[in-house]
């Protein structure tokens, strides 16, 4: 074997993890103990090997540059980016929370993104969007009964060490809640009910009651609305005249019957 550039071996070293970033000069060198031909002639003996590194040119000692992974930027995620303010329909529904996540991307090939949700700070890009939702940390946006409108797009800004990321949330807000009944004319079934419970004398038909509302997101040019949303199961029903009188037709007289809501039924008793 002869020539220039004859490939012999490859040595591998691991860079120690906990050393500081910087340029490390003189970390390696080599001595050619001997190069001998087939005739036994030693034509190189105890000679420094030449090193080629980042600097270029022929060197006697090698260097390498150690660097630490740095954040190249952030991104923010809301896996559910569209939601409804249920508490505005009925505070008993509880606040609606939107889970958010913030990650830092590091400058190292193959490295995992770092969760920085707890260390980043989050705020609303438009302060008046506090009428839509509340952001007190980067982990959660909260929609409660104290909020007064929806939005086609609330921008939440996450900030960490001068880097920013944003995400957009669409919030639907209820309005114009209305009540309808399947049958507004409840006829008497039994005029002399001796049973127990709510009805002690006259027993009437009952009817399913419904609650509908509109949902809107945004205002002005970005206004979005859907109408006739069935929210029967989300509203809180109250007896419309608990213990009071309602007008009764059919010759039964008035002032002796009462109507109330049982579940999602309008019932009436005499």
């Amino acid at each position: 074997m002869s020539g220039n550039g004859v490939s012999l071996v490859t040595a591998r070293f691991t860079v120690v993890s906990n050393i500081a970033a910087g340029t490390y000069v003189g970390v390696t060198g080599a001595t050619v103990r001997d190069m001998v031909n087939r005739g036994g002639f030693k034509y190189v003996s105890n000679s420094a090997a030449t090193i080629s590194d980042f600097r270029g040119g022929a060197q006697q000692q090698g260097l390498f540059i150690k660097r630490n992974a740095a954040n190249v930027g952030l991104y923010a995620v809301a896996r559910t980016a569209e939601t409804i303010n249920y508490a505005a329909i009925n505070s008993n529904n509880g606040d609606t929370t939107v889970t958010m996540e913030v990650y830092a991307v590091t400058s190292q090939f193959g490295s995992s993104d770092t969760t920085v949700t707890s260390s980043a700070s989050c705020s609303l890009a438009v302060p008046t969007d506090s009428e839509v939702l509340t952001v007190s940390s980067c982990s959660t946006a909260k929609l409660s009964s104290s909020h007064v409108r929806g939005s086609a797009g609330v921008n939440v800004i996450a900030t960490l060490n001068g880097q920013q990321a944003s995400l957009t949330l669409r919030v639907w807000f209820p309005s114009a809640i209305s009540v309808t009944v399947d049958d507004s004319d409840l006829g008497v079934l039994v005029t002399s009910n001796s049973g127990s419970g709510q009805c002690s004398s006259n027993l009437f038909q009952s009817s399913q009651v419904w609650a509908l509302c509109d949902l809107s997101a945004g205002s002005g040019g970005g206004f979005l609305q859907v109408s006739g949303v069935d929210v029967t199961s989300l509203v809180q029903w109250f007896s419309i005249s608990s213990g009071g009188s309602v007008s009764i037709s059919g010759g039964l007289g008035s002032g002796s019957s009462r109507a109330f809501v049982q579940g999602t039924h309008l019932e009436m008793c005499g």
């Binding site: 080599a30 190069m35 991104y75 995620v77």
Partner: protein, 275 residues
Amino acid sequence: MMAPASARGLGLASGAGSSRVAVGQWSQGFGAFVSGASSGAVAASVEGVSFGSSASYSAASSRATQISMLVKTPVLYADDQRFQARVQLRDSTGRPVVDQTSLTVLVSVSGVLIGSSGQSVSTTVGCSFTDSAAGLLLCSSSSLGVGSWFSTLSDQPLTATAQVVYSSTVTAQSTSSVLTLNQTVASVSLSSEGMLISLNRAPLFGGNTLIATVTANTGSFDLSTWGLNINYDTSVLQFVSLTLDNTAGFDAPVVNSDTTLGVVSMVALQRVERR
């Protein structure tokens, strides 16, 4: 009524009532549907009475119209051309789940080469979803394969842009990021007999591997036996392995590694062909 039973949301009834389609079967349409997630289940209740059974659904997703990119490897080196970028997709509403039908996401890398040629160059890197529920993709290449684009005169600037492509049509693209090809240095060649050790030129992270490739200039001689000592600073490097280049015709070297002093000694003899 009908309403999402999981993935809290609201079914938007087309009217307060439902229609009978057969004996014991009723139909209730949704005029619209606001779902709390990309999938869930719907359940029916009759006059306030809920039933245990439910039916699953998947909400149709919209096409991605927004794309952003963070380049993890903003500087490439002649001996380390690995490229990686994090890409995030959203639809026009800001939802991270997007329609993946006929969708391709890629990073376009382009620039004009420094020097007299002024040649325009470009290449692409493919992207794959890593978390489709969050609209996240990773665009990765183990080597960009652009060795001829590096310059010995200065750093070579390039631009990288992530693109959303539906059915071969670019429908959205990110803002461009600067990608730099680090200036290369002239390679070293031995002018007389001896050995050359070539080290990584790209910066290294902790835990990375420093590779020392050993070549020889035999001058007018042949090489039958050789010995080499490699010294290293044990406070920053740990010896891992030695690999013989089989093309040189030597038997595996006899290696003595002293990890305290930081010396790897080796002796190799020319392989004897046995018939």
